[in-house]
Protein backbone atom coordinates (compact mmCIF):
# COMPACT_ATOMS: atom_id res chain seq x y z
CA UNK A 1 0.00 0.00 0.00
CA UNK A 2 1.37 3.38 -0.97
CA UNK A 3 0.42 5.79 1.73
CA UNK A 4 3.34 8.11 1.14
CA UNK A 5 2.86 8.71 -2.51
CA UNK A 6 1.24 12.04 -3.15
CA UNK A 7 -0.46 12.98 -6.34
CA UNK A 8 -0.91 16.66 -6.68
CA UNK A 9 -0.77 18.38 -9.99
CA UNK A 10 -1.62 22.00 -10.48
CA UNK A 11 -1.06 24.16 -13.48
CA UNK A 12 0.23 27.50 -12.33
CA UNK A 13 -0.33 30.50 -14.60
CA UNK A 14 2.85 31.19 -16.54
CA UNK A 15 3.97 34.55 -17.77
CA UNK A 16 5.31 33.26 -21.07
CA UNK A 17 4.04 35.63 -23.81
CA UNK A 18 3.05 32.78 -26.09
CA UNK A 19 0.98 31.16 -23.38
CA UNK A 20 -0.51 34.55 -22.58
CA UNK A 21 -1.42 35.07 -26.23
CA UNK A 22 -2.99 31.63 -26.53
CA UNK A 23 -4.77 32.29 -23.26
CA UNK A 24 -6.19 35.53 -24.63
CA UNK A 25 -7.04 33.83 -27.92
CA UNK A 26 -8.82 31.24 -25.85
CA UNK A 27 -11.21 33.77 -24.37
CA UNK A 28 -14.35 33.38 -26.50
CA UNK A 29 -15.72 36.96 -26.40
CA UNK A 30 -12.29 38.38 -27.20
CA UNK A 31 -11.77 35.93 -30.05
CA UNK A 32 -15.27 36.59 -31.37
CA UNK A 33 -14.83 40.34 -31.51
CA UNK A 34 -11.26 40.26 -32.77
CA UNK A 35 -11.98 37.81 -35.58
CA UNK A 36 -15.14 39.70 -36.49
CA UNK A 37 -13.05 42.77 -37.24
CA UNK A 38 -10.40 40.79 -39.11
CA UNK A 39 -12.60 38.70 -41.42
CA UNK A 40 -13.76 41.43 -43.87
CA UNK A 41 -10.15 42.46 -44.47
CA UNK A 42 -9.11 38.88 -45.11
CA UNK A 43 -11.92 38.40 -47.63
CA UNK A 44 -11.09 41.68 -49.36
CA UNK A 45 -7.40 40.79 -49.66
CA UNK A 46 -8.33 37.37 -50.96
CA UNK A 47 -10.59 38.86 -53.64
CA UNK A 48 -8.01 41.42 -54.75
CA UNK A 49 -5.19 38.89 -54.93
CA UNK A 50 -7.36 36.37 -56.78
CA UNK A 51 -8.38 38.88 -59.42
CA UNK A 52 -4.78 39.95 -59.88
CA UNK A 53 -3.52 36.37 -59.97
CA UNK A 54 -6.18 35.26 -62.45
CA UNK A 55 -5.45 38.23 -64.69
CA UNK A 56 -1.75 37.37 -64.75
CA UNK A 57 -2.33 33.61 -65.02
CA UNK A 58 -5.11 33.44 -67.58
CA UNK A 59 -4.31 36.53 -69.66
CA UNK A 60 -0.72 37.72 -69.31
CA UNK A 61 1.25 34.48 -68.81
CA UNK A 62 2.21 32.58 -71.98
CA UNK A 63 1.26 29.01 -72.81
CA UNK A 64 3.80 26.32 -72.00
CA UNK A 65 5.82 24.99 -74.93
CA UNK A 66 5.27 21.42 -73.76
CA UNK A 67 1.83 21.45 -72.13
CA UNK A 68 0.23 24.20 -74.19
CA UNK A 69 -2.62 26.25 -72.78
CA UNK A 70 -3.56 23.63 -70.20
CA UNK A 71 -0.65 24.76 -68.04
CA UNK A 72 -2.97 27.54 -66.85
CA UNK A 73 -4.70 24.94 -64.68
CA UNK A 74 -1.47 24.93 -62.67
CA UNK A 75 -2.34 28.32 -61.13
CA UNK A 76 -5.32 26.66 -59.49
CA UNK A 77 -4.01 23.14 -58.96
CA UNK A 78 -0.68 23.88 -57.34
CA UNK A 79 -1.92 26.39 -54.73
CA UNK A 80 -4.79 24.03 -53.88
CA UNK A 81 -2.40 21.11 -53.45
CA UNK A 82 -0.08 23.24 -51.31
CA UNK A 83 -2.99 24.36 -49.17
CA UNK A 84 -4.23 20.81 -48.71
CA UNK A 85 -0.86 19.79 -47.28
CA UNK A 86 -0.32 22.98 -45.28
CA UNK A 87 -3.75 22.83 -43.65
CA UNK A 88 -3.21 19.22 -42.62
CA UNK A 89 0.14 20.20 -41.11
CA UNK A 90 -1.50 23.09 -39.23
CA UNK A 91 -4.24 20.78 -38.04
CA UNK A 92 -1.58 18.48 -36.60
CA UNK A 93 0.01 21.39 -34.70
CA UNK A 94 -3.38 22.57 -33.42
CA UNK A 95 -4.28 19.01 -32.44
CA UNK A 96 -1.10 18.65 -30.45
CA UNK A 97 -1.76 21.88 -28.55
CA UNK A 98 -5.41 20.96 -28.06
CA UNK A 99 -4.62 17.51 -26.73
CA UNK A 100 -1.75 18.46 -24.43
CA UNK A 101 -3.12 21.66 -22.92
CA UNK A 102 -6.83 20.94 -23.43
CA UNK A 103 -7.47 24.28 -25.09
CA UNK A 104 -10.96 24.36 -26.48
CA UNK A 105 -10.24 27.16 -28.95
CA UNK A 106 -7.59 24.99 -30.60
CA UNK A 107 -10.07 22.13 -30.93
CA UNK A 108 -12.48 24.53 -32.61
CA UNK A 109 -9.81 25.87 -34.99
CA UNK A 110 -8.69 22.37 -35.85
CA UNK A 111 -12.20 21.14 -36.60
CA UNK A 112 -12.94 24.28 -38.61
CA UNK A 113 -9.82 23.66 -40.71
CA UNK A 114 -10.79 20.15 -41.77
CA UNK A 115 -13.59 20.97 -44.25
CA UNK A 116 -11.50 23.74 -45.83
CA UNK A 117 -8.56 21.39 -46.24
CA UNK A 118 -10.86 18.77 -47.74
CA UNK A 119 -12.26 21.38 -50.16
CA UNK A 120 -8.76 22.30 -51.35
CA UNK A 121 -7.92 18.61 -51.74
CA UNK A 122 -11.02 18.09 -53.88
CA UNK A 123 -10.02 21.08 -56.03
CA UNK A 124 -6.51 19.72 -56.43
CA UNK A 125 -7.87 16.33 -57.46
CA UNK A 126 -10.47 17.72 -59.86
CA UNK A 127 -8.11 20.21 -61.50
CA UNK A 128 -5.35 17.61 -61.76
CA UNK A 129 -7.76 15.23 -63.40
CA UNK A 130 -9.00 17.90 -65.83
CA UNK A 131 -5.39 18.72 -66.67
CA UNK A 132 -4.70 15.03 -67.30
CA UNK A 133 -7.28 14.65 -70.07
CA UNK A 134 -5.59 16.98 -72.62
CA UNK A 135 -2.06 16.08 -71.47
CA UNK A 136 -2.14 12.33 -70.85
CA UNK A 137 -5.30 11.60 -72.81
CA UNK A 138 -7.10 10.26 -69.74
CA UNK A 139 -8.85 11.79 -66.75
CA UNK A 140 -7.06 9.70 -64.19
CA UNK A 141 -3.51 8.45 -64.03
CA UNK A 142 -2.11 6.98 -60.84
CA UNK A 143 0.44 9.74 -60.77
CA UNK A 144 2.31 10.28 -57.51
CA UNK A 145 0.83 13.70 -56.80
CA UNK A 146 -2.74 12.73 -57.57
CA UNK A 147 -2.47 9.49 -55.60
CA UNK A 148 -1.11 11.12 -52.48
CA UNK A 149 -3.79 13.83 -52.78
CA UNK A 150 -6.36 11.05 -52.90
CA UNK A 151 -4.97 9.43 -49.75
CA UNK A 152 -4.90 12.86 -48.13
CA UNK A 153 -8.58 13.30 -48.98
CA UNK A 154 -9.30 10.00 -47.21
CA UNK A 155 -7.41 11.25 -44.16
CA UNK A 156 -9.47 14.45 -44.13
CA UNK A 157 -12.70 12.48 -44.53
CA UNK A 158 -11.64 10.22 -41.67
CA UNK A 159 -11.10 13.17 -39.33
CA UNK A 160 -14.41 14.77 -40.33
CA UNK A 161 -16.24 11.45 -40.19
CA UNK A 162 -14.95 10.59 -36.73
CA UNK A 163 -15.82 14.05 -35.43
CA UNK A 164 -19.36 13.78 -36.74
CA UNK A 165 -19.84 10.24 -35.46
CA UNK A 166 -19.22 11.08 -31.79
CA UNK A 167 -22.01 12.94 -30.01
CA UNK A 168 -20.31 14.74 -27.15
CA UNK A 169 -18.54 17.74 -28.75
CA UNK A 170 -15.40 17.82 -26.60
CA UNK A 171 -14.91 14.08 -26.85
CA UNK A 172 -15.48 14.21 -30.61
CA UNK A 173 -12.93 16.98 -30.97
CA UNK A 174 -10.30 15.19 -28.91
CA UNK A 175 -10.77 11.96 -30.85
CA UNK A 176 -10.48 13.83 -34.15
CA UNK A 177 -7.37 15.63 -32.88
CA UNK A 178 -5.69 12.35 -32.02
CA UNK A 179 -6.57 10.91 -35.42
CA UNK A 180 -5.22 14.00 -37.19
CA UNK A 181 -2.00 13.69 -35.23
CA UNK A 182 -1.61 10.01 -36.11
CA UNK A 183 -2.36 10.86 -39.74
CA UNK A 184 0.25 13.62 -39.69
CA UNK A 185 2.91 11.21 -38.45
CA UNK A 186 1.98 8.89 -41.29
CA UNK A 187 1.56 11.53 -43.99
CA UNK A 188 5.25 11.93 -44.90
CA UNK A 189 5.64 8.16 -45.02
CA UNK A 190 2.57 7.86 -47.23
CA UNK A 191 3.79 10.69 -49.44
CA UNK A 192 7.25 9.25 -50.02
CA UNK A 193 6.09 5.67 -50.39
CA UNK A 194 3.55 6.72 -53.01
CA UNK A 195 6.15 8.79 -54.83
CA UNK A 196 8.58 5.91 -54.81
CA UNK A 197 5.87 3.41 -55.82
CA UNK A 198 5.11 5.64 -58.76
CA UNK A 199 8.67 5.64 -60.09
CA UNK A 200 8.78 1.87 -59.54
CA UNK A 201 5.75 1.13 -61.69
CA UNK A 202 5.94 3.66 -64.46
CA UNK A 203 8.48 5.95 -66.01
CA UNK A 204 8.18 9.59 -65.05
CA UNK A 205 5.58 11.39 -67.13
CA UNK A 206 5.14 15.08 -67.63
CA UNK A 207 4.31 16.57 -64.30
CA UNK A 208 1.89 19.39 -63.74
CA UNK A 209 4.40 21.27 -61.66
CA UNK A 210 6.64 21.58 -64.68
CA UNK A 211 10.38 21.25 -64.85
CA UNK A 212 12.93 22.57 -62.44
CA UNK A 213 13.05 26.00 -64.00
CA UNK A 214 9.90 28.00 -64.31
CA UNK A 215 9.60 31.29 -66.14
CA UNK A 216 8.98 34.36 -63.99
CA UNK A 217 5.89 35.20 -66.03
CA UNK A 218 4.46 31.92 -64.78
CA UNK A 219 5.93 32.09 -61.30
CA UNK A 220 4.24 35.36 -60.33
CA UNK A 221 0.63 34.30 -60.90
CA UNK A 222 1.39 31.03 -59.14
CA UNK A 223 2.75 32.76 -56.05
CA UNK A 224 -0.05 35.33 -55.98
CA UNK A 225 -2.68 32.62 -56.19
CA UNK A 226 -0.92 30.69 -53.45
CA UNK A 227 -1.00 33.73 -51.13
CA UNK A 228 -4.64 34.38 -52.06
CA UNK A 229 -5.50 30.81 -51.05
CA UNK A 230 -3.97 31.43 -47.62
CA UNK A 231 -6.19 34.48 -47.14
CA UNK A 232 -9.19 32.39 -48.17
CA UNK A 233 -8.23 29.84 -45.56
CA UNK A 234 -7.79 32.51 -42.88
CA UNK A 235 -11.12 34.16 -43.59
CA UNK A 236 -13.05 30.93 -43.89
CA UNK A 237 -11.38 29.42 -40.81
CA UNK A 238 -12.26 32.39 -38.60
CA UNK A 239 -15.82 32.49 -39.94
CA UNK A 240 -16.30 28.82 -39.14
CA UNK A 241 -14.63 29.09 -35.74
CA UNK A 242 -16.89 32.00 -34.73
CA UNK A 243 -20.00 30.05 -35.64
CA UNK A 244 -18.82 26.98 -33.75
CA UNK A 245 -18.13 29.20 -30.76
CA UNK A 246 -21.66 30.63 -30.87
CA UNK A 247 -23.08 27.15 -31.13
CA UNK A 248 -21.07 25.74 -28.23
CA UNK A 249 -21.57 28.71 -25.92
CA UNK A 250 -25.26 29.08 -26.74
CA UNK A 251 -26.19 29.08 -23.05
CA UNK A 252 -23.44 31.45 -21.94
CA UNK A 253 -24.09 35.10 -21.23
CA UNK A 254 -21.72 36.63 -23.75
CA UNK A 255 -23.39 34.89 -26.68
CA UNK A 256 -26.78 36.18 -25.62
CA UNK A 257 -25.35 39.69 -25.40
CA UNK A 258 -23.79 39.39 -28.85
CA UNK A 259 -27.03 38.21 -30.43
CA UNK A 260 -29.13 40.80 -28.59
CA UNK A 261 -26.83 43.60 -29.71
CA UNK A 262 -27.07 42.54 -33.31
CA UNK A 263 -30.85 42.15 -33.29
CA UNK A 264 -31.56 45.53 -31.80
Amino acid sequence: MNTNATTMTKIKPRKNWLVMFIHKLGSPPWFYNFSGKLIPWLWATFAALTIWGLYLGLYVAPADYQQGESVRIMYLHVPAAWMSMMIYGLMAVMSFIALVWRIRMMEILMMSSAPIGAAFTIIALASGSLWGRPTWGTYWVWDARLTSELVLLFLYLGVIGLHNAIDEPRKAARAACLLALVGAVNLPIIHYSVKWWNTLHQGSSISLTGGSSIDTSMLWPLLIMAVAAKFYYGANLLTRARIKLLEQDMRKGWVKNVVKEQTS
Binding site: M1, N2, T3, A5, T6, T7, M8, T9, K10, R102, E168, P169, R170, Q248, D249, M250, R251
Partner: protein, 196 residues
Protein backbone atom coordinates in the same frame (compact mmCIF):
# COMPACT_ATOMS: atom_id res chain seq x y z
CA UNK B 1 -6.60 10.92 1.87
CA UNK B 2 -8.67 12.53 -0.83
CA UNK B 3 -9.20 16.23 -1.12
CA UNK B 4 -11.39 17.72 -3.77
CA UNK B 5 -11.79 21.39 -4.46
CA UNK B 6 -14.49 22.81 -6.72
CA UNK B 7 -14.36 20.11 -9.32
CA UNK B 8 -16.79 20.39 -12.13
CA UNK B 9 -17.55 18.33 -15.16
CA UNK B 10 -19.25 19.56 -18.31
CA UNK B 11 -21.04 17.51 -20.91
CA UNK B 12 -22.49 19.19 -23.99
CA UNK B 13 -21.14 22.43 -22.50
CA UNK B 14 -23.47 22.21 -19.53
CA UNK B 15 -22.20 21.35 -16.04
CA UNK B 16 -23.36 17.92 -14.93
CA UNK B 17 -23.30 18.87 -11.25
CA UNK B 18 -22.56 21.99 -9.25
CA UNK B 19 -18.93 22.36 -8.15
CA UNK B 20 -17.96 19.72 -5.60
CA UNK B 21 -15.56 20.22 -2.69
CA UNK B 22 -14.81 17.85 0.16
CA UNK B 23 -12.00 16.15 2.01
CA UNK B 24 -11.94 12.56 3.01
CA UNK B 25 -9.70 11.30 5.82
CA UNK B 26 -8.55 7.79 6.52
CA UNK B 27 -11.42 5.84 8.06
CA UNK B 28 -13.92 8.23 6.53
CA UNK B 29 -16.97 7.36 4.52
CA UNK B 30 -18.50 9.83 2.12
CA UNK B 31 -22.07 9.11 1.10
CA UNK B 32 -22.98 10.76 -2.18
CA UNK B 33 -26.73 11.01 -2.49
CA UNK B 34 -29.10 12.83 -4.75
CA UNK B 35 -31.86 12.30 -7.26
CA UNK B 36 -31.47 10.30 -10.44
CA UNK B 37 -29.47 12.21 -13.03
CA UNK B 38 -27.73 14.48 -10.55
CA UNK B 39 -24.35 13.16 -11.64
CA UNK B 40 -23.42 10.62 -8.96
CA UNK B 41 -21.92 8.20 -11.45
CA UNK B 42 -20.14 11.01 -13.27
CA UNK B 43 -18.62 12.27 -10.02
CA UNK B 44 -17.39 8.80 -9.11
CA UNK B 45 -15.90 8.38 -12.57
CA UNK B 46 -14.14 11.73 -12.27
CA UNK B 47 -12.70 10.69 -8.91
CA UNK B 48 -11.63 7.40 -10.44
CA UNK B 49 -9.65 9.25 -13.10
CA UNK B 50 -11.71 7.85 -15.96
CA UNK B 51 -13.17 11.27 -16.73
CA UNK B 52 -11.15 14.45 -16.75
CA UNK B 53 -12.73 17.28 -14.73
CA UNK B 54 -13.51 20.42 -16.70
CA UNK B 55 -12.23 22.58 -13.87
CA UNK B 56 -11.17 22.26 -10.26
CA UNK B 57 -8.45 20.37 -8.50
CA UNK B 58 -8.16 17.23 -6.56
CA UNK B 59 -5.35 15.42 -4.87
CA UNK B 60 -5.24 11.96 -3.51
CA UNK B 61 -2.68 10.54 -1.18
CA UNK B 62 -3.29 6.95 -2.13
CA UNK B 63 -1.86 5.33 -5.15
CA UNK B 64 -4.50 3.20 -6.73
CA UNK B 65 -8.21 3.04 -6.11
CA UNK B 66 -10.72 0.28 -6.39
CA UNK B 67 -13.94 0.89 -8.21
CA UNK B 68 -17.22 -0.93 -8.56
CA UNK B 69 -19.45 0.70 -11.14
CA UNK B 70 -22.48 -0.15 -13.23
CA UNK B 71 -20.42 -2.22 -15.62
CA UNK B 72 -18.84 -4.77 -13.35
CA UNK B 73 -15.86 -5.75 -15.47
CA UNK B 74 -16.51 -9.47 -15.35
CA UNK B 75 -15.75 -11.62 -18.37
CA UNK B 76 -18.76 -13.72 -19.33
CA UNK B 77 -16.63 -16.40 -20.97
CA UNK B 78 -14.53 -17.05 -17.89
CA UNK B 79 -15.62 -18.89 -14.78
CA UNK B 80 -15.86 -17.05 -11.47
CA UNK B 81 -12.57 -18.44 -10.25
CA UNK B 82 -10.84 -17.66 -13.55
CA UNK B 83 -12.12 -14.09 -13.39
CA UNK B 84 -10.78 -13.62 -9.88
CA UNK B 85 -7.46 -15.35 -10.56
CA UNK B 86 -6.87 -13.11 -13.53
CA UNK B 87 -7.62 -9.98 -11.53
CA UNK B 88 -5.40 -11.16 -8.71
CA UNK B 89 -2.47 -11.83 -11.06
CA UNK B 90 -3.13 -8.66 -13.01
CA UNK B 91 -3.29 -6.34 -9.99
CA UNK B 92 -0.47 -8.21 -8.29
CA UNK B 93 -1.02 -6.45 -4.96
CA UNK B 94 -3.02 -8.97 -2.98
CA UNK B 95 -1.78 -11.45 -0.45
CA UNK B 96 -5.13 -13.21 -0.29
CA UNK B 97 -6.04 -16.16 -2.44
CA UNK B 98 -8.97 -16.03 -4.83
CA UNK B 99 -10.53 -19.04 -3.05
CA UNK B 100 -10.49 -17.13 0.23
CA UNK B 101 -12.26 -14.05 -1.10
CA UNK B 102 -14.69 -16.23 -3.01
CA UNK B 103 -15.66 -17.84 0.25
CA UNK B 104 -16.05 -14.44 1.90
CA UNK B 105 -18.56 -13.24 -0.70
CA UNK B 106 -20.32 -16.62 -0.83
CA UNK B 107 -19.53 -17.70 -4.36
CA UNK B 108 -17.69 -20.94 -3.63
CA UNK B 109 -20.65 -23.03 -4.76
CA UNK B 110 -20.63 -21.49 -8.25
CA UNK B 111 -16.90 -20.97 -8.57
CA UNK B 112 -16.50 -23.22 -11.62
CA UNK B 113 -19.50 -21.81 -13.47
CA UNK B 114 -19.07 -19.41 -16.36
CA UNK B 115 -19.86 -15.87 -15.31
CA UNK B 116 -22.58 -15.62 -17.95
CA UNK B 117 -24.67 -18.16 -16.02
CA UNK B 118 -24.66 -16.07 -12.83
CA UNK B 119 -27.58 -13.99 -11.61
CA UNK B 120 -27.22 -10.21 -11.36
CA UNK B 121 -26.70 -10.46 -7.61
CA UNK B 122 -24.03 -13.13 -7.96
CA UNK B 123 -22.22 -11.00 -10.54
CA UNK B 124 -22.24 -8.14 -8.08
CA UNK B 125 -20.73 -10.40 -5.45
CA UNK B 126 -18.03 -11.37 -7.93
CA UNK B 127 -17.19 -7.67 -8.41
CA UNK B 128 -17.10 -7.24 -4.62
CA UNK B 129 -14.65 -10.13 -4.41
CA UNK B 130 -12.40 -8.24 -6.80
CA UNK B 131 -12.57 -5.30 -4.41
CA UNK B 132 -11.12 -7.51 -1.69
CA UNK B 133 -8.29 -8.53 -3.99
CA UNK B 134 -7.34 -4.98 -4.88
CA UNK B 135 -5.68 -4.14 -1.55
CA UNK B 136 -6.13 -0.37 -1.91
CA UNK B 137 -7.07 2.25 0.63
CA UNK B 138 -9.66 4.13 -1.36
CA UNK B 139 -12.84 2.45 -2.55
CA UNK B 140 -15.18 4.09 -5.01
CA UNK B 141 -18.54 2.32 -4.93
CA UNK B 142 -21.30 3.30 -7.32
CA UNK B 143 -24.65 1.83 -6.21
CA UNK B 144 -23.10 -1.19 -4.48
CA UNK B 145 -26.44 -2.32 -3.04
CA UNK B 146 -28.33 -2.63 -6.31
CA UNK B 147 -29.31 -6.15 -7.37
CA UNK B 148 -28.35 -7.61 -3.99
CA UNK B 149 -30.58 -9.54 -1.60
CA UNK B 150 -30.76 -8.77 2.13
CA UNK B 151 -27.82 -11.06 2.83
CA UNK B 152 -25.82 -9.38 0.07
CA UNK B 153 -26.53 -5.91 1.45
CA UNK B 154 -25.28 -7.06 4.84
CA UNK B 155 -22.20 -8.49 3.14
CA UNK B 156 -21.40 -5.10 1.57
CA UNK B 157 -21.82 -3.38 4.94
CA UNK B 158 -19.62 -5.95 6.66
CA UNK B 159 -16.88 -5.61 4.04
CA UNK B 160 -17.12 -1.84 4.12
CA UNK B 161 -16.91 -1.56 7.91
CA UNK B 162 -13.92 -3.87 7.98
CA UNK B 163 -12.23 -1.76 5.32
CA UNK B 164 -12.95 1.49 7.18
CA UNK B 165 -11.85 0.08 10.54
CA UNK B 166 -8.55 -0.88 8.92
CA UNK B 167 -7.98 2.77 8.01
CA UNK B 168 -9.41 2.71 4.52
CA UNK B 169 -11.72 5.29 3.04
CA UNK B 170 -14.69 5.06 0.76
CA UNK B 171 -16.84 7.20 -1.49
CA UNK B 172 -20.21 5.55 -1.87
CA UNK B 173 -22.91 6.76 -4.23
CA UNK B 174 -26.42 5.53 -3.59
CA UNK B 175 -29.97 6.61 -4.27
CA UNK B 176 -31.55 3.94 -2.10
CA UNK B 177 -32.74 4.23 1.48
CA UNK B 178 -30.16 1.86 2.94
CA UNK B 179 -27.17 3.48 4.67
CA UNK B 180 -24.18 1.73 6.21
CA UNK B 181 -23.84 2.30 9.93
CA UNK B 182 -20.50 4.04 10.53
CA UNK B 183 -19.66 6.88 12.88
CA UNK B 184 -17.32 8.79 10.55
CA UNK B 185 -19.93 9.21 7.86
CA UNK B 186 -20.37 12.41 5.94
CA UNK B 187 -23.30 13.00 3.69
CA UNK B 188 -22.82 14.90 0.47
CA UNK B 189 -25.92 15.77 -1.42
CA UNK B 190 -25.05 16.26 -5.05
CA UNK B 191 -27.01 18.97 -6.84
CA UNK B 192 -27.61 18.78 -10.54
CA UNK B 193 -25.77 21.47 -12.47
CA UNK B 194 -28.57 22.38 -14.83
CA UNK B 195 -30.26 24.95 -12.60
CA UNK B 196 -28.14 28.09 -12.91
Amino acid sequence: MLSVSKINFERYFAPVFQPVSFTLEAGGLLLVTGANGCGKTTLIRVLAGILHPTSGEFSSRTGSMAYVGHHLGIKDDLSVVENLRFMRDFLGTSNRSSEEVMKEVGLTRVSEQLARTLSAGQRKRCALARLLLSNTQLWLLDEPYSNLDQEGVELVDKMLLKHLEAGGACVLATHGAHRPNWQQTENYELISGVAA
